[in-house]
Symmetry: C2
Subunit: 234 residues, 2 copies
Amino acid sequence: MINVHLKKLRRRVEISAEEEQAIRGVVAETRSVRADQILIRSGEELSNALILFEGWLARSKDLPGGDRQVTGLHIAGDFADLHGFTLKRLDHDVVALSDCVVGVVPHDRLQDITERHPRLARVYWYSTNVDAAINRELALSLGQRSALSRMAHLFCELYLRLTVVGLARLDGYDFPLTQRELAECLGLTLVHANRTIQELRRRSLVELENRQLTILDRSGLEGIAEFDPSYLYL
Amino acid sequence: MINVHLKKLRRRVEISAEEEQAIRGVVAETRSVRADQILIRSGEELSNALILFEGWLARSKDLPGGDRQVTGLHIAGDFADLHGFTLKRLDHDVVALSDCVVGVVPHDRLQDITERHPRLARVYWYSTNVDAAINRELALSLGQRSALSRMAHLFCELYLRLTVVGLARLDGYDFPLTQRELAECLGLTLVHANRTIQELRRRSLVELENRQLTILDRSGLEGIAEFDPSYLYL
DNA sequence: CGAAGCATTGAAGTGCGTCAACAATCGTGG
DNA sequence: CCACGATTGTTGACGCACTTCAATGCTTCG
């Protein structure tokens, strides 16, 4: 299960055999959770981190009025809350967007391997910094791109990230989000998210049905998104 | 000069006398830069990091069409590009919003103190994670808050952050940004940013003239912003 | 003094939100 | 296996927050 995590790391940095062994030892247990379950609540004290082995998670921030923004999506291989290792509590919830399998990594084991393998400390620090870079790109999308461009951008980003861990098909991938959840990622209303998908369809860029995303014209999609993947540090 | 940086760190974590000495040794030189200068360009290879001693910096991301989003503001005491220590290149520019004084910190000195003082490695990791939390709050603002609420939120956040390093007055602070730059922080056009300031004025919440921000009604401002400072981890 | 940047204002347009209804699909229990 | 409500997706009409375009005065600074 943890192979997908190693795959992701190795796409960006070198991991020695010894370090790999250390990483293989950090998961204390694995848990299955159902879609829509809240794994971590904002503010709650943390002593574990979660590696996602299967399924999709979201970081979600709520406003008193009930409006909600998803500030990040996680796919297999991602640590969902590695920043919680240093922060000890989160400023957002972590929720399951699909049925998931997660590995529970006690903070003291992280403490342990980062002390024993200072290079791994750097690797995981790096990893939280890539998360942050993805977040900055989201801010750029939310602040400056149109709904159409924003959605196209998200689809492009996920295509790359899923490819890294071997979860994309050549022309698309499983996309388990409802349109409501997609809207929350993009800072749109449900209704407008729906119309935006239809516009992407109408332009023959993308198909989306039965939780399957098909990319009909990737360079067209990247064009609309003004997609430049360098922020992903691949 | 570095005292302001220590002040900021100590507001969130403990720093021993020994660690303090180590930190005092990281700055190789100090440089003055003029407003509007670009200190770091997106993509360029880095071997130094910058601590801001005086003035304001921004992280800025450009789109091909010329639109621009500021994804973060930095004030005295902040590392502007600590994430560059692990990433080695940035996904955004770093630009001076006012005349600034920065400390140049070679990456190998950072390497050095984080190896010698593993606790400092944790402190600086933590620090980049707080940056990321501020970014998530920005995504929430850009995705869900109205222009008025967004601007109020920014003013509230900066009031707290400036207070931490002793740079706020009781009722406000120096605010060197032009309205254009403010607009770029908030994902608004210049014109609408101007009208939004006027609305805050009209409601007697805030005054802004001659680069001075005066907060006339802080709890009113926080109300409009739906401001909850827990994401700042103070 | 003139030029350039900055703040302000007005008028008109539009992208996205809101409200409301309905269709399609899904999960569940009888 | 069907009946049912609940969730998800779709559509239409209308409204508004924000953008766009354009002009004008104000400040700053060489």
